[in-house]
Symmetry: C2
Subunit: 716 residues, 2 copies
């Protein structure tokens, strides 16, 4: 167990406390839930610069009413155009108006043109000429709009069908969905249309889900409760079938890839060859343990090549399309976790591995772009609690220092690269830094600060946040924790503890970002006199494949053992009341909360589980089977993880909260758990938020946290 | 305020207490919920004689294995036949066997024959001849079986269609239901088939509900949550359309009554003319304020006559078919609340009123039959807390004393009359009498006791029950209450109180029956140290029409004002802690509980509302519009009664419980109230019992009451 910079922090915190006069103390106030929870009426968000982007190598800084160009060398700002001027030009063409400039785009480095996204059209405006250059109408109800800035073609969906410009690409009945994201947004998929580089061909997904069982959600706000069906393929059951089409707007013809029977297959990570002659896909079997990089002829749909394959005894999880080198159409970068961490690999179009570009016990999170002149790929990488932006030279393999060398390594960085790769916009936060935005020269690391956000809770009483590590239940692995103490912490007192848990893959709760990733509610509860604790157990993200897949086929078990290590650590602290340990989490964290309450009823006294997975058999195929296989092939695992089977263990107070329109984790989870508890004669509590989906968003989020707070206050 | 025999009871109770030794006290134990709640593993029900009936003027007393005849004059018992003997005869014909004799019927006074209802057939067995006389098969899945003992014809339903013997009477698509109860069992309707006296014609209901909106209930026990739609016509919306057919099994032809457009009309209280030539119906408009007694030709379906009409500015509620005098086919008895209480009226078939047969500030609940020799109609009547069986001479109008003159008037009696009307089986209970069953001579009142049940809680610690009256909020009307004190009641202590409330029409909670109608949970809570209180407010039953319809168009308001009078009475008692008043009720009582918590937040601290009506707009047409008219014609009333509109008033702890298959009071009530509370930022609690309907029955009923108990224990 290691406390990071604990001594420094304690010293800093003790001093002001000692010298605080009563008058000073009275001036400070505790933030309310309305201040702390997104959706609250006085929510104190961290300020940002919205719409910041590159126009070639010039940084564009949109404000409400003015569009400013920032010279990345000097930081000097120049006014490009005002909103008034744009709106006057729009009015002349009867195109409506824009209310701010933070949604504009400048995709054309060589032109003085702005792309405006209006509700019913895409408009190109030239600020030099002060006129509308182009206007592409889209229907009011269009969804999934995808405008290609090269060709000016626009793809969109109406209901379940795909359109390009004014023409219907598909004409499918209900149950077949075209042009939308498929496979429930797993495998990095978040959209259903993919324009070729020149914007003259459109690859798109077509998903036949007519054979998928419908889960009935009920809208109680209708005059008479109304059915809202959602096609929800549950683990082990019949899944949808996905195919990929390529539409040519000029000929209005569609070619479907001749990929064979799509049953129980995933078609992921679509990318175009630079010459638009072929399309690359990473195809995956339903077991998710065998991926193939396939190339299809864009004109005929024929399979041209299977470049290479990748297998793993547990699962492979392709999440990144291949990316071609801008200076060499025969080479591309492929991302893989094959050495245990997500890294970059350089391949040629014959499928031959040229070299591994990055390696180490850290992982690439994102390719940001290239510096063609220097032959560098620029990427974001994470390790431990932080992330940063780096370059690696493709020829020499030499990796740069993190660009933002003057921030601590535990900061969390996002980057946006300029056209040439010469500059990067670095948007970052660190435990004591709410947000900073710099422009950094990717060679000299010369930095210009564009923006520094104020501490949104300046002048408020705030608790103290510590971060450290403990050993996992395997006795070997380091796990990061975050521990929050009330501002008036007294080491001689005994405090109750609430553990906030997520625990599932694809997420890290303890970060090196602002306030170490703490949530507003944690601050609120710490201010009320609770020690708040969070531990990223095995199975969570940014720690490599083995750390994540340790939980394979038995979700919740090892995660729970690690959380118990956290509870033991807490009990070892002299200021913790070990008889008053509560736990709260949502979704995977709702599963963890329920599981901990049931498996360790003598440790955890009170739990609030939101939108929990109760039975992985009710979860969807893509995510669920990756980690659990199917109920048919892993009956013991499903049985062991099924919390209904241990409903009789409940001793403490457990509140389950579910949304009645939860289409991620359907209400059947929680309701069937209620039945299991009734059958087993145990007594959980329940609340349902009508009209919400897989969490409670907007204004009601404050209600939710007041509800959760009351439950702990009443019972812990 | 008047305490009925309070002094007597106190005297009786104080004496044993004074002389109880410690050893004796230790022997007594408190009943558990398993003892007290129906469905509990050790539920202590009051014993009964099941299947007791008349065979002509001989009383038949079935036991598990023997069928006994009881001489009503002497009480002498004779064995008629054994189960073994019957089963041997059944076996010979391969008809299966019967497991007890308590379901047999002896409908033929003149024959030594028994009707046996087997799962797949009706069997007539002659115990003298020791053989099966007749056997009428019915399909295994048949529902709503209606066997005519004169003709031997049987009607039944399969899915939504009606069958007679082996033939389909109707062949309607889903959405049209035949041969089943209609109008949601209002207007005294509880079945859909009506055999003519000779059993050769069958009148039946056909209900087209295809135009009624479907309410989606969800079965979470299916592999994937499954839709269970129920056609639920909500107040003010489109209702179903009912017609009446008459089927002739011989010709296999059906004639539908030519009653005109059935839209927004109710066809109620079907009865046959003694000669089977015509059918009588009481027809009602959708407003339910105008009833007509109509006669239709059974052969042609033509309307023959509208005998008379009845109107009321609030509502008329026909609940009893007309009954012809056995000795005069031209005269019948009609029941009406027209003088403010339900009484018997003698009419002739021209629709002319001959005379009012009963009157007084009490009401007829049921016609039991006739004594043809004496020209008497024999009926059950209720008044105050009790009920009893009487006769009235149709010629002289002279009413008999209650038959069971030797029991207190606050007993609750049910009667079954022998064929000639000479004897009655009187099954009754009284506050200190769990059950007695007597045979009474209806002229001499000579009584033979057949059965006296043991106190099912003999040897248990039981609380003390008091009954009395307070004035309603109108300052005039007497309301009955029941007050329960712990067995170890100490007048110097301050007790918390829980009010159990129903409050709606058609029910009386405080009765003169066993333990004054107390529920097991009330006993349980009194034993835990709560004062339990129930008050039958205005709007409840057995007190006459004006008492009931005082609440018209504003349900819940006057009822609540009366309940507040109850709370004020409680607060005036020196041993009541007026700051700890809780309230619990189900259905209408769930509405009352929620309404009291919201309208009187400073009086009621904790409430548990089960299956509550929240918004009368979500309740069904038949019941809802009778008392509330439509949302269109009574917008203020609906708005005033809509608890969502006052969700922001919630101060105390309120738990709402709903069943996910509640098709009486759909889950939309409770879920929309949750939304209203979230919107108003108040904090009710919620629980849902999956798979249950409008209450929690069976074994889970114990869980329910433990859940309710815990809520009061935690919060009151």
């Amino acid at each position: 167990m290691k406390i990071i910079s604990k001594l420094t922090r304690v010293a800093l915190l003790v001093l002001p406390t000692l010298f605080t006069t009563e008058a000073m103390a009275q001036e400070l106030k505790k933030p309310t839930l309305e201040d702390l929870i997104p959706g609250g009426e006085t929510y104190r968000f961290t300020e940002n610069l919205y719409g910041l982007q590159w126009w070639g190598d010039t940084c564009i800084k949109p404000e409400m009413d003015s569009l400013l160009a920032v010279n990345p060398k000097t930081g000097k700002e120049t006014l490009l155009v005002t909103r008034d001027k744009i709106n006057r030009a729009l009015k002349q063409e009867n195109l409506g108006k824009i209310n701010h400039l933070q949604g504009v785009r400048l995709p054309w480095a060589e032109k003085t043109q702005i792309l405006l996204t209006l509700p019913r059209s895409y408009v190109v405006y030239d600020w030099k000429a002060d006129k509308v250059i182009a206007n592409r109408a889209v229907p009011n109800k269009a969804g999934n709009k995808d405008y290609n800035t090269t060709s000016g073609n626009v793809a969109y969906t109406l209901s379940n069908n795909l359109y390009v410009n004014d023409h219907a690409v598909t004409n499918e009945p209900e149950g077949i969905v075209c042009g939308k994201s498929v496979h429930r947004n797993e495998f990095g998929i978040h959209k259903g249309t993919f324009w070729s580089p020149g914007g003259d061909l459109l690859a798109f997904y077509r998903m036949d889900e007519s054979m998928v069982t419908q889960y009935p959600l009920v809208d109680i706000t209708a005059r008479v409760g109304e059915l809202n069906n959602v096609r929800y393929p549950m683990a082990g059951m019949t899944s949808h079938k996905v195919t990929v089409g390529i539409y040519n707007p000029e000929t209005r013809e569609t070619v479907y890839l001749k990929a064979g029977d799509p049953t129980d297959r995933y078609f992921t990570n679509i990318s175009w060859a630079p010459d638009a002659g072929s399309l690359y896909l990473i195809e995956l079997n339903r077991d998710q343990n065998h991926a193939k990089l396939c190339q299809y002829n864009a004109a005929t749909g024929e399979l041209m090549a299977t470049l290479f394959e990748e297998t793993h005894p547990k699962y492979v999880e392709p999440q990144h399309p291949i990316v071609f080198l801008p200076w060499d159409n025969t080479k591309f970068i492929y991302q893989s976790q094959r050495d245990g961490f997500n890294h970059l690999y350089l391949y040629d179009t014959d499928g031959k591995l040229i070299k591994q570009l990055t390696d180490g016990k850290w992982l690439v999170t994102d390719i940001l772009g290239f510096n063609t002149r220097r032959k560098e790929v620029i990427f974001n990488a994470a390790g431990g609690l932080g992330s940063n932006n780096f370059a690696v030279n493709i020829t020499t393999g030499k990796r740069s220092l993190p660009f933002s060398i003057n921030t601590t390594t535990d900061g969390v960085h996002r980057g946006e690269l300029s056209a040439s790769g010469t500059y990067i916009i670095d948007n970052y936060s660190a435990p004591k830094t709410p947000r900073k935005i710099d422009i950094i020269d990717t060679k000299t690391f010369k930095t210009i600060n564009l923006f520094t956000a104020e501490d949104p809770f300046k002048g408020f009483i705030m608790p103290n946040i510590e971060v450290g590590t403990i050993k996992a239940a395997d006795g070997v692995t380091d796990l990061y924790y975050r521990l929050i103490k009330p501002a008036d912490f007294n080491p001689d007192k005994k405090y109750p503890v609430i553990i906030y848990v997520y625990g599932g893959p694809h997420a890290q709760m303890v970060t090196g970002g602002w306030q170490n990733g703490v949530r507003g509610w944690d601050i609120y509860m710490a201010n009320k006199g609770y020690i708040m604790f969070t531990l990223d157990n095995r199975g969570s993200s940014n720690r490599g494949l083995e750390f994540e897949n340790a939980t394979f086929r038995h979700l919740g078990i090892k995660e729970g053992e690690d959380q118990v290590k956290g509870a033991e650590f807490l009990k070892s602290l002299p200021y913790v009341d070990g008889n008053r340990i509560g736990v709260h989490g949502w979704s995977y964290g709702g599963h963890m909360t329920t599981a901990l309450m049931l498996r360790y009823p003598d440790i955890f006294k009170v739990g609030v589980a939101g939108g929990p997975v109760i039975d992985w058999g009710y979860y969807e195929i893509m995510y669920g089977e990756r980690y659990m296989d199917t109920p048919q092939s892993n009956p013991e695992g499903y049985s062991q993880s099924n919390l209904k089977n241990i409903a009789g263990n409940l001793k403490g107070h457990l509140l389950l909260i579910h949304d009645d329109h939860d289409d991620t984790c359907v209400p059947q989870h929680t309701l069937s758990f209620m039945k299991a508890c009734v059958d087993a004669r145990t007594y959980p509590d329940l609340f349902i938020y009508p009209t919400h989906k897989h969490n409670v968003a907007g204004r009601d989020r404050v209600h939710l946290h007041e509800k959760i707070t009351r439950y702990f206050e009443e019972h812990l």
